[in-house]
């Protein structure tokens, strides 16, 4: 898809006219407890004979030791690995440091496992080209999650929030003998929402979820909630809206739209949340 300059970012395919800072300008480790301060780790040199190399700075944290998190630098041989950031990580794990830990599965942007913070933006490592990253490329785990190890965040809470919106079809009408019918126009209403792969790039990037993540559901869960609210086969819209209408669960969204900016699938969680708010207006007036 061609990338166009845009002031209003409607999808993560667009590159903003005024690119944001890679890192918010606060001092490093500002307000961080001593045990969580990120220290400079070791540098792993490129293998002898490598022609084209690129440095990757990667966040490391080992839960088994008492050491602080650290930032290791890896010199990656670009001629020996594939074009994606995930390829570089796999190359490092296979050839340099087998203890480097990250989640990965499909390597084609459909499983959502390899979501991480690449050069300051949450994205899937398997769909981000190495050549799109700065030098050195900076790889951190998803923000605002407890870190289990290296690039593996603990998704327990955000998955529980997803479970809370009851992401399954609910109907009191007895199930028909065949599939539940749906008009093509009604099916089209799910487009842009059913594609969500639950990588939680959006929820991890949402400031409202940083400050109030215990109560605010976050963009991923709310986009999924809308996916069921707008499904013509579902009969539980009323209960779903009751569940969502809350000053924190839904209305803590202040349309910051980091979610839409960062979605590696090009979806628009901000629009989904706006649609939920609009549906509640329709119900009230």
């Amino acid at each position: 898809m061609p990338r166009t300059d845009a002031f209003i970012v409607r999808s993560s395919d667009q590159v903003p006219k005024h690119p944001l800072l890679k890192r918010f300008p606060v001092p490093r480790n500002f307000g961080v407890t001593p045990g969580s301060r990120i220290e400079r780790g070791r540098t792993w040199a490129a293998p002898a004979g490598a022609v084209r190399t690129k440095a990757f700075e990667i966040y490391r944290y080992d839960p088994d030791g008492d050491d602080n998190p650290r930032l290791d630098t890896f010199e990656v041989d670009l001629d020996a690995c594939g074009p994606m950031v995930l390829d570089a990580l796999i190359w490092i794990k296979n050839n340099v440091d087998p203890t480097l830990t990250f989640r990965r599965s499909c390597r084609e942007g459909i499983c959502g496992s390899c979501a991480m913070n690449i050069d300051g933006a949450n994205w899937l490592a398997c769909t981000r080209y190495i050549e799109e990253t700065g030098t050195p490329a900076q790889i951190y785990p998803l923000a605002n999650m407890r870190i289990i190890k290296d690039l593996v965040p603990d998704l327990t809470h955000v998955l529980a929030q997803y479970e809370m919106i009851e992401p399954w079809l609910q109907a009191t009408t007895p199930a028909p003998d065949r599939e539940r019918l749906q008009a093509p126009e009604d099916r089209a209403k799910l487009d842009g929402y059913y594609e969500c792969i639950l990588c939680f790039c959006c929820t991890s990037g949402c400031p409202s979820h940083w400050w109030n993540g215990d109560r605010f559901l976050g963009p991923a869960a709310l986009l999924q909630a809308w996916r069921w609210l707008t499904d013509s086969r579902d009969e539980a819209a009323g209960e779903r809206l009751d569940l969502l209408e809350d000053p924190f669960r839904l209305y803590r969204c202040h349309t910051i739209l980091n979610c839409t900016r960062t979605c590696p699938k090009g979806l628009n969680p901000g629009k989904a949340i706006a649609q939920i708010k609009k549906m509640i207006v329709d119900r009230q007036s």
């Binding site: 327990t156 809470h157 998955l159 529980a160 929030q161 479970e163 809370m164 409202s208 400050w211 109030n212 215990d214 109560r215 009751d242 569940l243 969502l244 209408e245 809350d246 000053p247 924190f248 669960r249 839904l250 209305y251 803590r252 202040h254 708010k277 509640i280 207006v281 009230q284």
Partner: protein, 128 residues
């Protein structure tokens, strides 16, 4: 400060359940914002137009019924909107017992400022 608690992830996510409200606050915040557009433009334009006027001219201007009415409307809408907006800011960032006190003090302040402004406008409009 969070107490240590053994709780299932779902139990933690559900918390105290849905308040089943929040629409009124959100909707009123938007309506008051829209309602502020015209009075705010009127107010700014009037201040600029009267930047060279003396005190008596300005008082005479405020005594005109349309101006008094717009001034009172502006004050009501402004502090109503401010109270709703500041509530969101406090709920966003304050996570201690101070939250409830901050909310109460903020509400009192908004009501007090609105009352002072309205009484001042009415005194000029109706008083000696």
């Amino acid at each position: 400060m969070r107490r240590f608690r053994i709780q299932t992830p779902l139990g933690r996510a559900v918390g105290l359940g849905s308040a089943k409200s929040g629409f009124g606050h959100w909707w009123t915040e938007r309506i008051t914002a829209a309602a502020l557009v015209l009075p705010a433009i009127w107010f700014a334009a009037s201040l600029i137009a009267h930047s060279g006027s003396d005190y008596d001219t300005f008082r005479r201007w405020l005594r005109e019924p349309i101006n008094t009415a717009l001034m009172v409307l502006l004050l009501v809408t402004l502090f109503w909107h401010a109270a709703l907006g500041l509530q969101v800011v406090i709920e966003d960032y304050v996570h201690s017992v101070a939250k409830i006190w901050a909310l109460i003090v903020m509400r009192f302040a908004c009501f007090a400022l609105a009352a002072v402004g309205i009484i001042a406008a009415l005194r000029i409009a109706l008083g000696a």
